[in-house]
Symmetry: C2
Subunit: 226 residues, 2 copies
DNA sequence: AACGTAAGGATCGTTGAACAATTCGACAAG
DNA sequence: CTTGTCGAATTGTTCAACGATCCTTACGTT
């Protein structure tokens, strides 16, 4: 194999990147994350396919994709709805977080990932400084994404991405997201310190307490009206 | 909520059960698991839609489903192919296993899940007794599925199901699966013993070694011809 | 008032056909 | 041996149609 071909082969995945259905899925995913479509809301095939100028068939392919990511709920003969996680779903999401983040924290951190953690903490603190609670929320999410990336596994990264997208649905039905995100800025800072100090066991214990606290807080503030 | 409704609500998921696309996906999934469609093989839309008597559009919906489970590889304008995992994929799969199974082993096992583990070990031993290496393989897979279920998380169970389906693809391109599965029957028995004895740390250490060994063996015997 | 039934409209599920876009192999030209 | 071109085969996407299913409303029965 010659060098030219070897260098190029890294960019190969970018080639397959397109397809109307996937682009439609991207758009819908963004809208859902942003809260434009609210949890529980039904997405009409006709309305959306018209609005986006794609056929119903293509839109349905996009729906399937998002359904598999648990962002949409597909009910037979009744249509697709923006997922509205139940209290048990929230508990399960935190069980997964304990596993993924717990494993991450026990690993020897590599330099690049550590950098991502530091930046996320800084961003959160800066956002908090200017009362931008939306910004604090997304920075916190970036922190945990970076934390999980310590596992150094593409599949785990992907799973975490989905998990956090699902969690964002929960935030959207909370009455007061600011109160939820604020206290965790300091906690992230502390957790980062323990990791940098090379104290995996203490970091793991701290994280467990962290997640317990967050889960309780979230479930308490969360009463999905169904 | 009264008791009757509570009891019934467990069966609710089964109600939504149907849809041609999902049934088609089930069929294809089974065929892939069984090795009827070999990794790398292309699945023609025309041939399969004719063979199954469904329209191309419906078949495409099924393809999307399986693509998200990483069983199919969708290449734009070129069709769908049965996934052929790379060596890096195998490594990543084992990274995920270390995380999921490691977390499982450290938890206090509940009675029901323990029962599943015992049965899987017995099945594997019985199958080994009659030289049924296919049977040993599926029993071993059941063992690890049951192991992960100790985490008590539906999402983790689902992730493990997908992971094992993907791993089955790897087994299908191995020249000699019998040699791979055989030595792990005893290991499963030992691991089960450590769990029953309530020695999570020793079980975790044993498991780590177990998975390291399996990964090395698998990657060594695995040279995907691409 | 509670329940079973019927009718109607809206929406989804699935199909079949059609055409554009893309890939791939073959073959000719340099 | 490399490059350009053509055409067959396959996928990507759209469209229109029809049956199936669900929801609502209305009506009648008990």
């Amino acid at each position: 194999m010659d060098n030219v071909a070897a260098d190029l082969s890294r960019d190969r995945p970018r080639l397959g990147r397109s397809s109307t259905a996937e682009r439609v899925a991207d758009i819908l995913r963004d809208r859902i994350s942003a809260g434009f479509f609210q949890p529980g809301q039904r997405l009409s095939e006709e309305t959306i396919s018209e609005g986006l100028g794609v056929s119903r068939n293509t839109l349905r392919e996009a729906f399937r994709l998002l359904g598999h990511e648990r962002l949409l709920d597909h009910k037979l003969n009744r249509g697709v709805f923006v997922r509205l996680p139940s209290a048990e779903d929230v508990s399960d999401l935190y069980r997964v977080r304990r596993v993924l983040e717990g494993a991450a924290v026990r690993r020897k951190p590599d330099e690049r990932a550590l950098e991502g953690l530091k930046e996320a903490v800084l961003d959160a603190e800066r956002a908090a400084g200017r009362d931008d609670w939306q910004g604090v929320g997304t920075a916190n999410i970036r922190f945990h994404q970076a934390l999980v990336s310590l596992n150094d596994s593409p599949r785990i990264d992907e799973a975490m991405r989905q998990l956090l997208a699902e969690l964002r649905l929960v935030f959207h039905v909370m009455e007061n997201p600011r109160a939820f995100h604020e206290p965790f800025v300091d906690r992230n800072r502390t957790l980062l310190g323990l990791i940098e100090a090379g104290e995996p066991e203490r970091a793991a214990a701290y994280l467990d307490d962290y997640l317990d606290h967050a889960e309780r807080l979230l479930i308490h503030a969360y009463e999905p009206n169904r």
